[in-house]
Structures are given as structure tokens and as C-alpha cells.
Point group: C2
């Protein structure tokens, strides 16, 4: 692969930015990588481990002269960061982001993008429950989707160069409209995360009646929930607040269905339960067939031993 951007600035140095830096190096995709993080502790760690080529003490210094600036900060502060770097953006440069919500990010960031600078929002659908400058790894994006969400008037060449970058980072890319993106993600990611957070909170409350046995005997279902519910609190707070409508719509439907299943349990309607569970099993098969997961019988267990 070849260099796609002479200089890339990563604003925010957490899991996603760190993984981008490592994967850009792996692919030789950037001439130079600069970085900035709001916390001086994060900046110190990034310098110590050499996460990027140069760490600056302000977002503007890191962004100045960059051919690509990627905002890798929680959604709630994207607008503020965009305002900070607005004046130093190089004509012809591209600004992108990695936020899990797109309509809110576009509304917050677009007003700060000067004439002659390209704004191409993106959302790499990849992550772990870890965060911070030490949590990144080069393989994070391999075989994952990165959704590219061009805004009105996005320059085609700028869009295609960013897509090439994400493919170079290991992802598959697809373009999508912002509102549609936010709905799809509310279903596949945002609502499931809130539900996992809720269930883990309930289990913690019930610990008082079960001693610490909830922890000790955390079975497969719950254990998977705790992993999801260990994701970065600030990032997820901002996701829910900025994708409010779609998330609440999905949660409303969820509650409706849950009540129907609770009633089936209470009234002993085994037929209803069995039909429902048979249908959900079929969906799993589709996901495995779509290559989004494996159905190896001991999946995921190797790492747990």
C-alpha cells in the first residue's frame, strides 16, 4: 500500500485513535501522524509508548498543516474541538470523525468547517470494552465495517480517499445517509448497549440478596452483558444523548416485546415463547451466513481458559 495522506492528525488518543495509528503504520498509509489528547496524562502515555510521531499540547497545533484530521473524541465535545481547530485547517484538507452517531456530529461540526476544507464523517464499527491510549491494536478494524456518511456537497475525491484509508486500515466500507445510519446503529448497537448496561446494574443491585454469587457464577449470558456494559461511560453517555430519538424508539419497541414475553411466562404460554425463540435463532443463522460472526461450537472459549 502507499501513503494516502502526507500528515494525519488524530484528535483524541483513545482506543480508536490508537488503533488507527497502529494500523496506519502497519499499512504505511500516512507520511506522519500527529496527535492531541485533552488529558495531559494521556498525552504523556502516548509520548512514552510512541503511539504517534508527535504529540501536541493543543488540538490546533496537532491539526495545523495536516492533510487529514480525524476527530476521535466523545460525541459531546466534537463541536468544541472542531471550533478549536477551524482556523488552522489547511485548504484542501479533509476533516473526519469516528463517532457512533452521525446526524448530531454533522450538526455540531459542519458549521466550523471552513470553505475549501472537506468534511467526510465516518463510523468504524469496531471497538472493545477497553479505552485509553494503551488499549489500541492494529487489527481492531480488520474485516469490520466502516460506514462513510458524506454530507451534502462532499467532494467525491475526498470521500474516496477516506474510503481508501479505511480499507487500508482493514475495514470494509459502505456509504450511508446520516439518519439511516443512526437508526441502523440504534438497533444493532445503541439499544443493545443500554440494555446490557441495565441488566448489569440490576444484577449489581441483586447482589445484596445473592452475596457475591452473581459475580462468582456469572454464566454465559450475563458475562457477555458485562463485557458490553464495561464500555467507556463518557462515550456511551454521549451516544445516547445524541441519538436520543432513534434509541428511544427502539427501546419502546423492546419494552413492548418484553412485556409480551413476560406475560407469556406468567400465563404459561409455552407456544408463544417457543415460536419467538425459534425465530430469533434463525436470525443468528443469517448473521453467521453474512460472515459477521463464526458458529464454531466452542467460539470464544479459547481465550477464556
Amino acid at each position: 500500500m502507499s501513503v494516502l495522506y502526507g500528515r494525519v492528525a488524530l484528535i483524541g488518543l483513545g482506543l480508536i485513535a490508537g488503533s488507527m495509528a497502529l494500523a496506519m503504520r502497519r499499512g504505511g498509509l500516512a507520511g506522519e501522524i500527529t496527535g492531541y489528547a485533552r488529558s495531559s496524562e494521556t498525552r504523556d502515555i502516548a509520548r512514552e509508548i510512541g503511539l504517534v510521531d508527535r504529540v501536541y499540547d493543543s488540538a490546533a497545533d496537532a491539526a495545523e498543516g495536516a492533510d487529514l484530521v480525524v476527530l476521535c473524541v466523545p460525541i459531546g465535545v466534537m463541536g468544541g474541538v472542531a471550533a478549536e481547530i477551524s482556523a488552522v485547517l489547511k485548504p484542501g484538507a479533509t476533516v473526519s470523525d469516528v463517532g457512533s452517531v452521525k446526524r448530531a456530529v454533522i450538526e455540531a461540526v459542519a458549521p466550523h468547517i471552513p470553505e475549501g476544507v472537506h468534511f467526510v464523517p465516518a463510523h468504524p464499527m469496531a471497538g472493545t470494552e477497553h479505552s485509553g491510549p494503551r488499549s489500541g491494536f492494529a487489527e481492531l478494524f480488520d474485516n469490520r465495517w466502516c460506514l462513510i456518511v458524506p454530507v451534502e456537497g462532499s467532494d467525491r475525491a475526498a470521500v474516496e480517499r477516506l474510503e481508501a484509508l479505511w480499507r487500508g486500515l482493514g475495514s470494509n466500507t459502505e456509504e450511508m445517509d446520516a439518519d439511516h445510519h443512526d437508526l441502523v446503529c440504534a438497533v444493532t448497537s445503541h439499544a443493545p448497549h443500554l440494555i446490557a448496561y441495565t441488566m448489569v446494574g440490576v444484577a449489581d443491585d441483586m447482589r445484596r440478596v445473592t452475596d457475591s454469587e452473581v459475580i462468582k457464577f456469572s454464566a454465559a449470558g450475563f458475562r457477555d452483558f458485562t463485557r458490553i456494559a464495561a464500555s467507556d461511560p463518557t462515550m456511551w453517555r454521549d451516544v445516547f444523548l445524541s441519538n436520543k430519538d432513534a434509541t428511544l424508539e427502539v427501546l419502546g419497541r423492546f419494552t413492548e416485546e418484553l412485556f409480551a414475553l413476560q406475560r407469556a411466562i406468567r400465563t404459561g404460554d409455552g407456544e408463544h415463547l417457543h415460536q419467538y425463540f425459534t425465530r430469533t435463532r434463525a436470525i443468528r443463522r443469517e448473521i453467521v451466513e453474512a460472515g459477521q460472526d463464526t458458529d464454531a461450537p466452542d467460539f470464544g472459549r479459547g481465550a477464556r481458559k
Copy 2:
């Protein structure tokens, strides 16, 4: 390890029984393993792949003369199976089961256990989303918990021999009271499963507004839910129907918490969300520290590539 039971009969030949057979062979724990499944197709497959030493066409034939009979059938049919084998049980033999609910199994099975036969219920907390005679593997129970739930008057020697078997199969064992078991499992396993089933059902409904993008872009949270929601429909129907009270209690608390979080999203109460998510993250840490999961940063991904 040495032979703990001269003959073991497995009634039901699905994921758990198949894994038990393979792990018993691995450990040399049984002199001979017999088996029975209600479906002739399952029996044929079990014979074809040599899952056990001999497959019988009736539960009574399989159980006759066995030193240990393990009921590996859905909870709803445990009582019926116990009635079928009652007359042929050898004096001094042990009857056990692998059901995920214990009070209901004890009520259904205990009346059919003749004088002189030991009944020692058990619950191996292990499984995958697969089922059937081909889904077992010898490592399924390694490092998992198997909860042993002695009933009133359970013979200590019989209890301890069964515990030795489960440790031989790779599990850690602990004894627990039936009602307490059912509550702990409602929190750590039953309620999470119902919630995952519900969310996957909702996503399937919403597919109509999102084309097949819910499948295509199934992100981490949702993908984990689909795996949980692919578990055996009959087994889970019976779990919910037979652990009704504890499951409904946990779901009631869950709904309460979910409503509070939904309200926080609606009113923009970021502080509430952030505090909640910080608390759940700490619970994850405890689970990792308790050795119930790994926090490797690319956990589970290797198998997905």
C-alpha cells in the same frame, strides 16, 4: 483419573450429554456409557458417530443396570422420563440431571425416585448456542462451575461421588440450595437470555425499515445478543416456565431500571447515565478478577476472522 461409575446412562443426547460422554471418555471416568434420545434421528446420529457405547430405543433400557443415570432432557419432560425409568433403577444407583432450574426439577423427579436410589440434582453452567448430538465437545465444562443441589436426605457418599465426576469432567463444583440456585441463575442467566431474545426479535421487526442492514452491520453488542438468542428454544421455554417467579422478579427490576435510564436519555440527564455506566464497568472488573472471563484487549476476535 479412575473409573467413578461402572455404567453411566445419559437420557437425552444433546449438547450437554454429548459433551459429558466425550469428557467422561477423556478422563476415563465411566466403565461404559449408554444413551437414549426420544428422536430416532438423534439416536441414529449418536450411533453413527459413536457418541456413547450403546444407544437404546427406550429410556428404561438405557437406564437399567446403570450406576449413574443423568437426565439431559428439557426441564418440562424430566418428570415423565423419571417415571419411565423408575422401575428399572438399580438399588444404590444415583440419578442426577443437568437442568438449569432446580426447584421445579426436584418437584417433578423426586416422587419417581425409589427407596434405595440416590437423587442428586446438578447444574453444569456451561453451554453454547448449538444443540443436538453433534454439538458436544469434551472441553465444554473445563473451568466452568457445576452447581450440585443435594435434596433433603441426599446420601453424602453419592453427592461426593457425583462432585468427583464433575471435577473429572473439568468443572469446579459447589453445593447450593435449590431456591437460592434458581434466584442466582435468574439473575446471571435466565433474565439475560430473555432480554437477548427480546432485543433480537425487535431487530428482526425493525428489519422492515432498515432493509437487511441490521444483519449486515450487526455490531458487537447486537451480535453477542444474537448468539445468546440462538440457544435451544425448547430448553429455554422450559427454563422460563419452570423458574417463573424468580425470572419475573428480576425482569420487573430490570424494567424499572430501564425506564429510569430511558427517562435520563429523554431528559438529557447525562450525569445519571455516566454514573450508571461507571458502576457497571466496575462490575466487569470484578468478573475478570474472579477469573470468569478474560480482559484480553482483542478478546474473542481471533475466532471471528
